[in-house]
Protein backbone atom coordinates (compact mmCIF):
# COMPACT_ATOMS: atom_id res chain seq x y z
CA UNK A 1 0.00 0.00 0.00
CA UNK A 2 2.93 2.26 0.52
CA UNK A 3 4.84 3.44 -2.45
CA UNK A 4 8.29 3.97 -0.98
CA UNK A 5 8.88 6.93 -3.25
CA UNK A 6 6.07 8.90 -1.78
CA UNK A 7 7.03 8.04 1.76
CA UNK A 8 7.48 11.17 3.81
CA UNK A 9 10.58 9.82 5.53
CA UNK A 10 13.62 11.38 3.89
CA UNK A 11 16.29 9.06 2.61
CA UNK A 12 19.41 9.15 4.66
CA UNK A 13 22.86 8.32 3.63
CA UNK A 14 24.98 6.14 5.86
CA UNK A 15 27.71 8.10 7.60
CA UNK A 16 30.19 5.44 6.56
CA UNK A 17 29.41 5.89 2.88
CA UNK A 18 29.62 9.62 3.16
CA UNK A 19 32.90 9.62 5.08
CA UNK A 20 34.30 6.89 2.85
CA UNK A 21 33.67 8.96 -0.25
CA UNK A 22 35.45 11.87 1.40
CA UNK A 23 38.46 9.64 2.17
CA UNK A 24 38.54 8.43 -1.42
CA UNK A 25 38.47 11.95 -2.81
CA UNK A 26 41.06 13.18 -0.34
CA UNK A 27 43.46 10.41 -1.36
CA UNK A 28 42.83 10.99 -5.03
CA UNK A 29 43.65 14.68 -4.83
CA UNK A 30 46.23 14.74 -2.04
CA UNK A 31 48.50 11.74 -2.65
CA UNK A 32 50.78 13.62 -5.06
CA UNK A 33 51.37 16.28 -2.41
CA UNK A 34 51.52 13.80 0.44
CA UNK A 35 54.44 12.20 -1.39
CA UNK A 36 56.29 15.41 -2.25
CA UNK A 37 59.36 16.05 -0.15
CA UNK A 38 59.30 19.83 -0.50
CA UNK A 39 55.88 19.91 1.15
CA UNK A 40 57.05 18.09 4.26
CA UNK A 41 59.86 20.57 4.66
CA UNK A 42 57.65 23.55 3.93
CA UNK A 43 55.08 22.41 6.49
CA UNK A 44 57.67 22.65 9.22
CA UNK A 45 59.58 25.63 7.88
CA UNK A 46 57.31 28.27 6.43
CA UNK A 47 56.33 31.16 8.70
CA UNK A 48 53.34 30.32 10.82
CA UNK A 49 51.18 33.19 9.61
CA UNK A 50 51.47 31.96 6.03
CA UNK A 51 50.44 28.48 7.09
CA UNK A 52 47.52 29.92 9.07
CA UNK A 53 46.45 31.93 6.00
CA UNK A 54 46.64 28.78 3.89
CA UNK A 55 44.40 26.96 6.36
CA UNK A 56 41.91 29.84 6.26
CA UNK A 57 42.01 29.87 2.46
CA UNK A 58 41.37 26.12 2.47
CA UNK A 59 38.37 26.54 4.74
CA UNK A 60 36.90 29.32 2.60
CA UNK A 61 37.43 27.32 -0.60
CA UNK A 62 35.87 24.16 0.81
CA UNK A 63 32.91 25.98 2.35
CA UNK A 64 32.18 27.73 -0.95
CA UNK A 65 32.59 24.48 -2.92
CA UNK A 66 30.10 22.80 -0.60
CA UNK A 67 27.76 25.73 -0.79
CA UNK A 68 27.72 26.04 -4.57
CA UNK A 69 28.04 22.42 -5.58
CA UNK A 70 26.88 20.43 -2.59
CA UNK A 71 28.81 17.61 -1.07
CA UNK A 72 26.67 14.75 0.00
CA UNK A 73 23.10 15.15 0.98
CA UNK A 74 20.67 17.41 -0.75
CA UNK A 75 20.10 19.84 2.07
CA UNK A 76 20.56 23.44 1.05
CA UNK A 77 20.30 25.16 4.37
CA UNK A 78 23.36 26.87 5.74
CA UNK A 79 23.97 24.23 8.38
CA UNK A 80 23.84 21.56 5.70
CA UNK A 81 26.63 22.95 3.62
CA UNK A 82 28.61 23.94 6.68
CA UNK A 83 28.34 20.34 7.87
CA UNK A 84 29.45 19.13 4.44
CA UNK A 85 32.50 21.37 4.62
CA UNK A 86 33.24 20.13 8.14
CA UNK A 87 33.05 16.50 7.03
CA UNK A 88 35.41 17.22 4.14
CA UNK A 89 37.89 18.98 6.43
CA UNK A 90 37.72 16.31 9.14
CA UNK A 91 38.28 13.47 6.70
CA UNK A 92 41.02 15.44 4.93
CA UNK A 93 42.86 15.87 8.23
CA UNK A 94 42.38 12.18 9.04
CA UNK A 95 43.70 11.12 5.64
CA UNK A 96 46.69 13.46 5.84
CA UNK A 97 47.60 12.43 9.39
CA UNK A 98 47.05 8.73 8.72
CA UNK A 99 49.03 8.63 5.49
CA UNK A 100 51.95 10.63 6.82
CA UNK A 101 52.12 8.47 9.94
CA UNK A 102 52.07 5.34 7.79
CA UNK A 103 54.85 6.75 5.61
CA UNK A 104 56.86 7.37 8.78
CA UNK A 105 57.12 11.10 8.17
CA UNK A 106 55.63 12.06 11.51
CA UNK A 107 54.87 10.28 14.73
CA UNK A 108 51.88 12.20 16.09
CA UNK A 109 52.20 10.84 19.63
CA UNK A 110 55.86 11.94 19.80
CA UNK A 111 55.84 15.11 17.71
CA UNK A 112 52.28 16.41 17.66
CA UNK A 113 53.47 19.86 16.62
CA UNK A 114 55.14 18.53 13.51
CA UNK A 115 52.10 16.41 12.75
CA UNK A 116 49.75 19.41 13.03
CA UNK A 117 52.00 21.50 10.79
CA UNK A 118 51.99 18.81 8.12
CA UNK A 119 48.23 18.33 8.36
CA UNK A 120 47.78 22.08 7.99
CA UNK A 121 49.76 22.19 4.76
CA UNK A 122 48.31 18.98 3.28
CA UNK A 123 44.72 19.90 4.12
CA UNK A 124 44.25 22.01 0.99
CA UNK A 125 44.26 19.31 -1.71
CA UNK A 126 42.81 16.69 0.61
CA UNK A 127 39.80 18.78 1.66
CA UNK A 128 39.10 19.98 -1.89
CA UNK A 129 39.31 16.37 -3.05
CA UNK A 130 37.03 15.20 -0.26
CA UNK A 131 34.34 17.73 -1.08
CA UNK A 132 34.72 17.10 -4.80
CA UNK A 133 34.27 13.36 -4.34
CA UNK A 134 31.21 13.83 -2.18
CA UNK A 135 29.51 16.17 -4.60
CA UNK A 136 30.50 14.68 -7.95
CA UNK A 137 31.52 11.07 -7.65
CA UNK A 138 28.70 9.79 -5.48
CA UNK A 139 25.59 8.13 -6.74
CA UNK A 140 22.68 10.34 -5.85
CA UNK A 141 24.81 13.33 -5.08
CA UNK A 142 23.21 16.59 -5.59
CA UNK A 143 22.74 20.14 -6.65
CA UNK A 144 21.86 21.06 -10.18
CA UNK A 145 24.68 23.19 -11.50
CA UNK A 146 24.01 26.84 -11.57
CA UNK A 147 26.35 28.59 -13.91
CA UNK A 148 26.22 32.22 -13.05
CA UNK A 149 29.28 34.25 -13.87
CA UNK A 150 30.30 34.41 -10.22
CA UNK A 151 30.16 30.63 -9.94
CA UNK A 152 32.15 30.13 -13.12
CA UNK A 153 34.92 32.38 -11.88
CA UNK A 154 34.94 30.65 -8.51
CA UNK A 155 35.04 27.29 -10.25
CA UNK A 156 38.05 28.36 -12.29
CA UNK A 157 39.78 29.49 -9.09
CA UNK A 158 39.13 26.10 -7.48
CA UNK A 159 40.49 24.23 -10.50
CA UNK A 160 43.54 26.47 -10.58
CA UNK A 161 44.18 25.86 -6.88
CA UNK A 162 44.04 22.09 -7.27
CA UNK A 163 46.44 22.01 -10.20
CA UNK A 164 48.79 24.71 -8.96
CA UNK A 165 49.00 23.31 -5.43
CA UNK A 166 50.54 20.12 -6.75
CA UNK A 167 53.29 21.96 -8.58
CA UNK A 168 53.89 25.12 -6.53
CA UNK A 169 56.02 23.47 -3.80
CA UNK A 170 58.44 21.85 -6.25
CA UNK A 171 61.85 23.22 -7.12
CA UNK A 172 61.09 22.83 -10.81
CA UNK A 173 59.04 26.02 -11.05
CA UNK A 174 61.99 28.02 -9.76
CA UNK A 175 64.32 26.31 -12.21
CA UNK A 176 62.10 26.84 -15.23
CA UNK A 177 61.57 30.47 -14.27
CA UNK A 178 65.28 31.01 -13.78
CA UNK A 179 66.11 29.98 -17.34
CA UNK A 180 63.08 31.53 -19.04
CA UNK A 181 63.66 35.02 -20.35
CA UNK A 182 60.93 37.56 -21.00
CA UNK A 183 60.26 36.13 -24.46
CA UNK A 184 59.58 32.65 -23.18
CA UNK A 185 57.47 34.05 -20.35
CA UNK A 186 55.38 35.97 -22.88
CA UNK A 187 54.99 32.82 -24.99
CA UNK A 188 53.85 30.95 -21.90
CA UNK A 189 51.15 33.53 -21.29
CA UNK A 190 49.90 33.28 -24.88
CA UNK A 191 49.98 29.49 -24.73
CA UNK A 192 48.10 29.43 -21.41
CA UNK A 193 45.37 31.67 -22.79
CA UNK A 194 45.07 29.57 -25.95
CA UNK A 195 44.92 26.36 -23.92
CA UNK A 196 42.21 27.72 -21.67
CA UNK A 197 40.10 28.92 -24.54
CA UNK A 198 40.63 25.76 -26.55
CA UNK A 199 39.85 23.45 -23.67
CA UNK A 200 36.51 25.00 -22.97
CA UNK A 201 35.25 26.06 -26.38
CA UNK A 202 37.12 24.33 -29.17
CA UNK A 203 38.32 20.76 -28.92
CA UNK A 204 35.00 19.13 -28.15
CA UNK A 205 35.62 17.65 -24.72
CA UNK A 206 32.55 16.38 -22.96
CA UNK A 207 31.04 19.41 -21.28
CA UNK A 208 32.22 21.80 -23.96
CA UNK A 209 30.49 25.10 -23.74
CA UNK A 210 28.86 27.09 -26.45
CA UNK A 211 30.23 30.48 -27.15
CA UNK A 212 27.70 32.88 -25.79
CA UNK A 213 27.76 36.35 -27.21
CA UNK A 214 30.57 35.60 -29.63
CA UNK A 215 34.15 34.43 -29.24
CA UNK A 216 35.57 37.83 -28.37
CA UNK A 217 33.16 38.35 -25.53
CA UNK A 218 33.77 34.85 -24.17
CA UNK A 219 37.50 35.36 -24.47
CA UNK A 220 37.45 38.64 -22.58
CA UNK A 221 34.86 37.68 -19.97
CA UNK A 222 35.96 34.17 -19.12
CA UNK A 223 39.31 33.25 -20.60
CA UNK A 224 41.26 36.34 -19.66
CA UNK A 225 39.53 36.64 -16.30
CA UNK A 226 40.21 32.94 -15.74
CA UNK A 227 43.86 33.45 -16.58
CA UNK A 228 44.10 36.38 -14.20
CA UNK A 229 42.58 34.20 -11.48
CA UNK A 230 45.04 31.38 -12.27
CA UNK A 231 47.94 33.83 -12.14
CA UNK A 232 46.79 35.25 -8.81
CA UNK A 233 46.32 31.76 -7.34
CA UNK A 234 49.78 30.79 -8.58
CA UNK A 235 51.38 33.87 -7.06
CA UNK A 236 49.63 33.29 -3.74
CA UNK A 237 50.74 29.65 -3.54
CA UNK A 238 54.32 30.47 -4.52
CA UNK A 239 54.45 33.18 -1.87
CA UNK A 240 53.08 30.73 0.69
CA UNK A 241 55.79 28.19 -0.09
CA UNK A 242 58.45 30.88 0.23
CA UNK A 243 59.39 30.98 -3.44
CA UNK A 244 59.16 34.77 -3.51
CA UNK A 245 61.52 35.23 -0.56
CA UNK A 246 64.65 37.04 -1.62
CA UNK A 247 63.90 37.26 -5.34
CA UNK A 248 63.18 40.43 -7.28
CA UNK A 249 59.79 41.26 -8.76
CA UNK A 250 60.70 40.17 -12.27
CA UNK A 251 61.75 36.68 -11.19
CA UNK A 252 58.69 36.39 -8.96
CA UNK A 253 56.42 37.33 -11.86
CA UNK A 254 58.13 34.82 -14.15
CA UNK A 255 57.62 32.09 -11.56
CA UNK A 256 53.96 32.99 -11.31
CA UNK A 257 53.63 32.89 -15.11
CA UNK A 258 55.29 29.46 -15.21
CA UNK A 259 52.96 28.09 -12.56
CA UNK A 260 49.96 29.81 -14.13
CA UNK A 261 50.22 27.51 -17.12
CA UNK A 262 49.21 24.32 -15.28
CA UNK A 263 46.90 26.43 -13.12
CA UNK A 264 45.04 27.73 -16.17
CA UNK A 265 44.67 24.21 -17.55
CA UNK A 266 43.18 23.26 -14.18
CA UNK A 267 40.89 26.27 -14.28
CA UNK A 268 39.63 25.35 -17.74
CA UNK A 269 39.23 21.69 -16.83
CA UNK A 270 37.20 22.59 -13.76
CA UNK A 271 34.65 24.32 -15.97
CA UNK A 272 34.27 21.16 -18.01
CA UNK A 273 34.18 18.70 -15.14
CA UNK A 274 32.11 20.36 -12.47
Amino acid sequence: MDDPRSAAAPRRQELGTSAGRAVGGALLFALPLLMTMEVWRAGLSIPRYRLALLVLATVVLVVLLCRFFGAGSEGTRRRDWLADAGVALAMAAAVAAGTMTLFGLVTPWVDWQGALSLVAIEALPAAVGASYARSQLGAGSRRPMSSTYRHEVFLMAAGAVVFAANIAPTEEVVLIAATAGPVRAALLIVLSLALMHGFVYRVGFKGQERLEGGPVRAFLLLTTVGYAVALAVSAYLLWTFGRFDGVDAGVALTQAVVLAMPASVGAAAARLIL
Partner: protein, 138 residues
Protein backbone atom coordinates in the same frame (compact mmCIF):
# COMPACT_ATOMS: atom_id res chain seq x y z
CA UNK B 1 14.64 2.17 4.02
CA UNK B 2 17.18 3.06 1.40
CA UNK B 3 16.01 0.30 -0.90
CA UNK B 4 15.29 2.67 -3.75
CA UNK B 5 18.66 4.32 -3.65
CA UNK B 6 20.64 5.07 -6.79
CA UNK B 7 17.74 5.07 -9.16
CA UNK B 8 18.28 8.73 -9.70
CA UNK B 9 14.79 9.41 -10.98
CA UNK B 10 14.51 12.55 -8.94
CA UNK B 11 11.13 11.46 -7.68
CA UNK B 12 12.51 10.43 -4.31
CA UNK B 13 12.34 12.59 -1.28
CA UNK B 14 15.53 14.61 -0.88
CA UNK B 15 18.47 13.06 0.89
CA UNK B 16 18.99 14.78 4.20
CA UNK B 17 22.12 15.51 6.10
CA UNK B 18 22.29 12.97 8.91
CA UNK B 19 23.10 13.67 12.53
CA UNK B 20 26.30 11.68 12.05
CA UNK B 21 27.35 14.05 9.30
CA UNK B 22 26.54 17.05 11.48
CA UNK B 23 28.67 15.52 14.21
CA UNK B 24 31.55 14.86 11.85
CA UNK B 25 31.12 18.37 10.48
CA UNK B 26 31.49 19.80 13.97
CA UNK B 27 34.62 17.66 14.43
CA UNK B 28 36.00 19.21 11.26
CA UNK B 29 35.26 22.69 12.52
CA UNK B 30 36.89 21.98 15.86
CA UNK B 31 39.95 20.60 14.08
CA UNK B 32 40.33 23.75 12.00
CA UNK B 33 40.09 25.94 15.10
CA UNK B 34 42.60 23.71 16.89
CA UNK B 35 45.10 23.92 14.01
CA UNK B 36 44.73 27.70 13.85
CA UNK B 37 45.15 27.99 17.62
CA UNK B 38 48.28 25.85 17.45
CA UNK B 39 49.73 27.97 14.64
CA UNK B 40 49.02 31.13 16.63
CA UNK B 41 50.66 29.65 19.73
CA UNK B 42 53.60 28.46 17.67
CA UNK B 43 54.06 31.86 16.07
CA UNK B 44 53.69 33.95 19.22
CA UNK B 45 55.16 31.74 21.93
CA UNK B 46 57.33 28.99 20.54
CA UNK B 47 59.10 30.29 17.47
CA UNK B 48 61.30 33.22 18.32
CA UNK B 49 64.34 34.44 16.46
CA UNK B 50 66.62 32.50 14.16
CA UNK B 51 67.77 28.90 14.45
CA UNK B 52 69.23 27.89 17.83
CA UNK B 53 71.13 24.70 17.31
CA UNK B 54 72.69 22.37 19.81
CA UNK B 55 74.24 18.97 19.41
CA UNK B 56 74.67 16.25 21.96
CA UNK B 57 76.49 12.92 21.86
CA UNK B 58 74.05 10.12 22.61
CA UNK B 59 76.15 6.97 22.40
CA UNK B 60 79.53 5.63 21.34
CA UNK B 61 79.35 2.15 19.88
CA UNK B 62 81.81 -0.06 18.02
CA UNK B 63 81.32 0.07 14.25
CA UNK B 64 82.54 -2.44 11.63
CA UNK B 65 85.59 -0.29 11.09
CA UNK B 66 86.26 1.69 14.22
CA UNK B 67 83.67 3.51 16.27
CA UNK B 68 80.36 5.22 15.75
CA UNK B 69 79.46 8.31 17.77
CA UNK B 70 75.72 8.85 17.73
CA UNK B 71 74.54 12.43 18.06
CA UNK B 72 71.29 14.30 18.34
CA UNK B 73 70.87 17.70 16.77
CA UNK B 74 68.18 20.03 18.10
CA UNK B 75 66.79 23.31 16.91
CA UNK B 76 65.18 25.30 19.68
CA UNK B 77 64.98 28.53 17.68
CA UNK B 78 62.28 29.95 15.49
CA UNK B 79 63.55 29.22 12.00
CA UNK B 80 64.64 26.23 9.98
CA UNK B 81 68.36 25.72 9.49
CA UNK B 82 69.48 23.97 6.31
CA UNK B 83 72.69 22.10 5.54
CA UNK B 84 73.65 21.97 9.17
CA UNK B 85 77.28 20.93 9.58
CA UNK B 86 78.18 18.86 12.59
CA UNK B 87 81.90 18.48 13.14
CA UNK B 88 83.81 16.54 15.72
CA UNK B 89 87.43 16.46 16.81
CA UNK B 90 89.16 13.90 18.95
CA UNK B 91 92.20 15.13 20.87
CA UNK B 92 94.55 13.20 23.11
CA UNK B 93 96.93 15.01 25.42
CA UNK B 94 96.25 18.28 23.63
CA UNK B 95 97.11 17.08 20.15
CA UNK B 96 94.45 16.37 17.51
CA UNK B 97 94.05 12.71 16.64
CA UNK B 98 91.10 12.54 14.28
CA UNK B 99 88.28 14.58 12.81
CA UNK B 100 84.81 13.62 11.57
CA UNK B 101 81.82 15.50 10.18
CA UNK B 102 78.26 15.12 9.02
CA UNK B 103 75.65 17.34 7.36
CA UNK B 104 71.97 17.38 8.23
CA UNK B 105 69.73 18.29 5.32
CA UNK B 106 67.50 20.51 7.43
CA UNK B 107 66.45 20.92 11.04
CA UNK B 108 63.04 22.51 11.52
CA UNK B 109 62.21 24.55 14.63
CA UNK B 110 61.37 22.37 17.60
CA UNK B 111 62.63 19.24 15.92
CA UNK B 112 65.48 16.81 16.41
CA UNK B 113 67.66 14.98 13.93
CA UNK B 114 69.91 12.07 14.70
CA UNK B 115 73.03 10.82 13.02
CA UNK B 116 76.44 9.34 13.65
CA UNK B 117 80.07 10.37 13.28
CA UNK B 118 82.58 7.68 12.44
CA UNK B 119 86.07 7.37 13.94
CA UNK B 120 88.79 4.80 13.55
CA UNK B 121 90.32 5.65 16.93
CA UNK B 122 88.33 4.98 20.09
CA UNK B 123 86.71 8.31 21.01
CA UNK B 124 86.15 7.16 24.57
CA UNK B 125 89.84 7.61 25.33
CA UNK B 126 90.81 11.20 24.84
CA UNK B 127 88.70 14.31 24.54
CA UNK B 128 85.88 14.40 22.00
CA UNK B 129 84.41 17.72 20.97
CA UNK B 130 81.24 17.77 18.86
CA UNK B 131 79.98 21.13 17.61
CA UNK B 132 77.65 22.65 15.05
CA UNK B 133 79.97 24.51 12.73
CA UNK B 134 77.53 26.20 10.39
CA UNK B 135 74.24 26.24 8.53
CA UNK B 136 72.39 27.89 5.69
CA UNK B 137 69.09 29.74 6.02
CA UNK B 138 66.34 28.64 3.66
Amino acid sequence: MDGTDDTGTGAEPPMRTTSGEYLLGVVGGVLVVAVLAFLLYDALAARQGGPRLSVEVTAVTPAPEGFSVGYELRNEGGETAEQVEVSAELTRAGSPVEQAGATADYVAPGSRRQGALLFTEDPRSGELQVTVSGYVLP
